[in-house]
Symmetry: C2
Subunit: 91 residues, 2 copies
């Protein structure tokens, strides 16, 4: 698994984030994304759905394990939503 | 799988939705949730994370398969975010 977490903001563009997720999945068969706040969480989930489509030709059928994680934002503790995206071998 | 989709709104209370998801998972080992809009998607994902904790004593380790689905809202076509929550047998 890569140790690089893809951070998503409310202003992130889902297809672009999806491209980064798909690239990481092709390399590691997994990706980690995280977001803080409703707008960012929404963009993150959209990006993951798009990434699932992007990697279908690579015989991957991704699924997600969601969790909360504590992160530090400018010295303040914050709760982020984290998605571990894993690939199952497809048909 | 149950044919009842749990619909989440921006005003939904995550622990309450999580209770409904956990109940459905105990009965069917899967649950379906859907949401439209950033606020609702955020509440939905929070609820799923909580539900994952709720069902841990039942030896379930849930994971999600996210997708877009087309739904009809007051006669208008809308794109919703759908999560199929499935349980893997835990340790």
């Amino acid at each position: 698994m890569g140790d690089k977490v893809i951070r998503v903001a409310a202003t992130s563009i889902p297809p672009r984030v999806a491209g980064a997720i798909a690239k990481t999945m092709r390399e590691h068969r997994s990706a980690e994304v995280q977001a803080i706040g409703a707008g960012a969480v929404n963009q993150m989930l959209k990006a993951v759905i798009l990434a699932c489509h992007y990697v279908q030709p690579d015989k991957m059928q991704p699924f997600c394990v969601p969790s909360f994680i504590e992160v530090d934002v400018d010295g303040r503790p914050c709760t982020a939503v984290h998605l571990l995206v894993l690939a199952e071998a497809g048909e």
